[in-house]
């Protein structure tokens, strides 16, 4: 068994204001319960433009143009402090506009379920042709588009889900079965959004790490969607569907689910698969969710804020065999919330943070950075949920106090030094632990950070199958440059063994 390393990470956002209005569950629920509400009437006035979403500091941190330190240097809230000169493309990925993304949904649809108008197709074809990571072969999948009347007919007569851009219908997603709810237009729409955003993250990862796509042997997808039909509702396999469009010809894969904790579960699984020499390169990938768009929209609007949950998120992480330089995944220092752990915050933090540290004889202060649920407080505070990362850091520090590793007066100092401000959109699994992985690679390689802990938590009770909560964690650390000797012994060692045996044999003969 050897340690796997993290070779690279990519992060993408899709600005999706029309999907906020038509597909976010807060808005769709309001349409059912209270269709004439003031909130719905004024909703469009609270949407941000693409430029505003690009100029938003937390989004710039997510795609790697700004760092967690840059974010910390500017006091909250960040919504009224746009970044000057912000750009669409970042070190880790990009912020894609909604029209191009709708085009990408059509590109990754293999069952001809996405229908786009001729006019819209023409416009996005030009735009996507200029995208450096979308090949001509992919662009050609857009074909020429459909007559507008045919699209309208599918929407009005066959329950197709309309696709809007700039408040106009530009296409639709057809249902994939007449009666199977698991293949309804709504489900297919959500799954295609997840798939398309994951494909974009995978393409960026290949671009940023320069890995040969043929060298990726396995893909783990870790979103919160389910694809299948009425006989196997969550059959899967998003992973392979994404791998196909990312050009990973030698890859198989599977999906890992665990609510928001799934990305950290995926990180641990990938570390084990590579560590056990099952595969050399494993790609972890996930797209985002439209259901969560505008989830706290009512609170934001009530407080005079724009709707800040207007982006779909995605990310990818490449876990590979030890290269002697990339940060190591310590799959021997893993925390897990077990069935018997209990639900008090104290028990939860003990199981996720101090249990793995104890195993490595480490103290809470030996971890330089903790990456917890990195939700953006601009979004959560106005909704009454507080500053989530800060609350997590307080709990870790308080446990340190109880263990005698910190003084009570040092709690704030601990948070300052070992914590970060949150920057990730509230897309469930997207903010959970993994947003820091990209920065961790740089921080650990540069020596700024020696050890970091990635923590993922999940609210399993939402699925109504258990009342339990879940969480897992893993430590990542600097690579000392030594590759493991797990594959056996070196030639020199064999020579020395043989020489020793010969000496023993000679001595034995002499004795006789």
């Amino acid at each position: 068994m050897s340690n796997a390393v993290i070779k690279g990470a990519s992060y993408i956002l899709v600005h999706a204001p029309d999907m906020v209005v038509h597909n976010g569950t807060t808005q769709t629920t309001e349409k059912i319960l209270n269709s004439n509400s003031e909130y719905l009437k004024n909703l469009r006035n609270s949407l941000r433009t693409y430029e505003q979403a690009v100029n938003y500091l937390p989004n710039q941190v997510y795609i790697g143009n700004k760092t967690p330190e840059d974010l910390k240097a500017i006091p909250q809230p960040w919504v009224d402090k746009p970044v000057e000169g912000a750009t669409r493309n970042g070190k880790f990925g990009e912020i894609m506009p909604e029209d191009e993304f709708i085009g990408l949904m059509k590109i990754v649809d293999v069952f001809d379920l996405v229908k786009l108008s001729k006019e819209f197709t023409k416009i996005i074809k030009t735009k996507l042709s200029n995208h450096p990571l979308i090949s001509d072969e992919l662009v050609s999948r857009l074909k020429d588009g459909e007559e507008f009347n045919d699209i309208n007919k599918l929407i009005s007569e066959q329950d197709a889900e309309p696709l809007y851009f700039d408040n106009n219908i530009v296409g639709c997603v057809k249902r994939a079965h007449d009666i199977d709810q698991n293949l309804s237009a709504h489900v297919i729409f959500e799954n295609l959004v997840s798939k398309a955003s994951a494909v974009l993250a995978a393409l960026h990862l290949i671009d940023k790490t320069k890995i040969n796509p043929d060298d990726i042997e396995y893909v783990i997808e870790c979103s919160e969607e389910a694809c299948g039909d009425m006989n196997q509702r969550g059959g899967g396999n998003f992973a392979k569907a994404i791998a196909e469009f990312a050009g990973l010809n030698n890859a198989s894969g599977s999906d890992i689910r665990g609510f928001c904790a799934a990305p950290t579960h995926a990180l641990i699984s990938a570390a084990s698969l590579v560590g056990a020499n099952t595969f050399k390169n494993v790609l972890i990938v996930s797209g985002g969710s439209t259901a969560k768009l505008g989830m706290n929209g009512k609170d934001h609007v009530k407080k005079g804020l724009p709707i800040l949950e207007d982006v779909v998120g995605g990310f990818a992480v490449l876990v590979s065999e030890n290269d002697g330089e990339s940060p190591i995944l310590r799959n021997d220092l893993v925390g897990r919330h077990t069935v018997g752990t209990g639900s008090s915050p104290q028990a939860v933090i003990t199981s996720l943070v101090t249990a793995p540290l104890d195993r490595g004889n480490l103290k809470i202060t030996d971890i330089d950075k903790y990456s917890v649920e990195m939700q953006n407080p601009d979004i959560t505070k106005p909704a009454g949920a507080g500053d989530v990362p800060n609350a997590n850091y307080k709990m870790i520090a308080a446990l340190g106090v109880k263990r005698g590793e910190l003084e009570r007066t040092q709690i704030n100092e601990f948070i300052e030094k070992h914590g970060m401000e949150g920057w990730a959109p509230t897309q469930g699994h997207i903010p959970s632990g993994v947003p820091y992985v990209g920065f961790a690679i740089d921080d650990i390689k540069s020596g700024k950070v020696k050890k970091a802990m990635i923590i993922g938590k999940g609210s399993l009770f939402l699925g109504r199958m258990t009342n339990l909560f879940d969480g897992v964690s893993i430590v990542i650390e600097n690579n000392d440059g030594r590759k493991e000797e797990s594959k056996g012994i070196s030639e020199e060692e064999i020579r020395s063994f043989v020489a020793e045996a010969m000496r023993d044999f000679a001595a034995h003969l002499l004795e006789e």
Binding site: S344, P345, Q346, I349, G384, A385, G386, A391, K394, M395, A398, L399, V401, K402, R408, I411
Partner: protein, 105 residues
Amino acid sequence: MENQKRVKELAEKYGLENTIVVLGGAEAEAAGLAAETVTAGDPTYAGPLAGVSLGLRVYHAVEPEFKESVDPEVYDEQIGMMEMVLDVDSIIEEVKGMREQYSKY
């Protein structure tokens, strides 16, 4: 919504005077909202307690009334760490305010 429904059902089953609600919310505002919901009624008019004033006794787990009535060892094990983390004074102020104003028992 589900919690409102459960509180309503339990309070009706066992009697309003025999029911105490213990809150665990981490934010003063959210805890205050929950306390208002089980006393005066749901202020957002979204759940089963909209317009229903149960007037129940309600305490937050960090309030002295609750703390003093449970085993100190269990309290320390379950809540000791969170007591350090939460803004206990604001939570007490919010919940106590609602209780004193709307609780009927």
